[in-house]
Amino acid sequence: MSESNASATRITPGNALRPEDIASSSAKPTAEVAEYALRLGDDSLILAQRLGWWISRAPELEEDVALGNIALDLMGHARSFLTYAGHAWGKTEDDLAYLRREPEFRSAHLFEQPNGDFARTIARQLVVSHYQFELYSRLVESTDATLAAIAAKAVKEVDYHRDHASQWVRRLAQGTEESHNRMISGLTLTWPYVEELFTDDPLIDSLGDAAVLPSTLRKPFDALITALFAEAELQVPAVPGAIGGGRHGCHSEHLGYILAEMQVLAREHPGATW
């Protein structure tokens, strides 16, 4: 490992995998695979940053820990995906996370949505964890060995996130009148961003069996959500889908603020280590 491409965060918590590990042990991804890995990595990175805000602010200490743990898992996935993607362009995970501008991020809009109250965060977690579980359970069959390995690791962790979100949805939906109303409000604010996750585009088509076609995940996703909602006596919100564009770098006003907070240190002090 040369010092020049060492990660700035290499001695801070949250790094099971170093960029050097994947970069040195894996084949270089094609430009298309790299772009796909960037999407998956950005989704997890932006949500990890969002969830980290909850630490010390969740309704109870256990939830500080739970959301912090989930954020840590997502950060781990993001590091693997970004490192792999960066290998195609001679960039490190830090280059990609800290030095890209907003239009260069490929995350879907759902991941940058504000935390809102706890119920809204849980609604977002519900959608993300079920989507990622379906995605990673299929990505383990990817013809790209590195994507398959990252997915195999991630799917077990995301399964746990799914369980966490489902339990909270049940509890909030059937708790008090207040929690019920907040759950419905959280779901209503979240649902417009569901559609973008399941939208195919030419990049995915070009990847063939290396990627998972997002539209194929919609049916199993809906089946799980429908079953859970039936149990929790909830309805799928009847709201129109929002305009997406995250996969092409068109973001909402929220992402800029997230990046400002996430990137300020790396940009103010280039090459800083701690």
């Binding site: 290499r10 099971a16 840590l72 781990g76 693997s80 398959a148 077990k156 746990y160």
Partner: protein
């Protein structure tokens, strides 16, 4: 899915086995009673013709910060015995599971006050949650307090009989 050949084993060759034993002295920084061999994190040790040693380890959870400490400790453990040319290789596949934890490891965990994983991760379609035994009083009358604990790999439980809260190493 996973061929038996990919599972960890102490090498048969005495020279490499000695290296394995050195690497196997490294303990988990968060759970210092468990060695990385007990955990199933140590996957293989190889030496090439030029004498370069490669130790392969696998992360427990994607974001587990202990992996860096483990990596450095393996290098130190081998360096202390005079082996300077050591590389650490991190493999993601096959993904780590608590099924790889040794029985000795489970016994040590229990003695340390952390309930070891109950049951197997690689079971059928339905995951069956077995009772978790209190490491203090051995009662099975315990309750999950929170699914996320002090580290990624643990959940927090409480014993309904002796009232003692305790960590449980989750089946993963």
């Amino acid at each position: 899915m996973v061929a038996a050949a990919t599972l960890a084993a102490r090498p048969a060759d005495p020279g490499t086995a000695a290296l394995w034993d050195l690497a196997a002295t490294v303990v988990d920084p968060e759970i210092p009673v468990l060695t990385i061999e007990d955990l199933g994190v140590l996957r293989s040790v190889r030496m090439n013709d030029a004498g370069a040693i490669t130790v392969t380890i696998t992360p427990t959870y994607s974001g587990c910060p202990a992996m860096d400490a483990i990596r450095d400790d393996v290098i130190s453990a081998l360096a202390a015995a005079g082996h300077r040319d050591v590389g650490i290789e991190l493999v993601l596949a096959p993904a780590w599971t608590t099924d790889w934890m040794t029985d000795a490891g489970k016994a040590k965990l229990d003695e340390y006050g952390i309930a070891p994983p109950t049951g197997k991760a690689a079971a059928g379609r339905v995951s069956v949650g077995l009772s978790v035994k209190c490491p203090q009083c051995s009662s099975l009358n315990t309750r999950e307090l929170t699914r996320f604990g002090s580290t990624s790999c643990k959940a927090l439980y409480v014993c309904q009989d002796c009232r003692e809260p305790f960590d449980y190493f989750k089946v993963h």
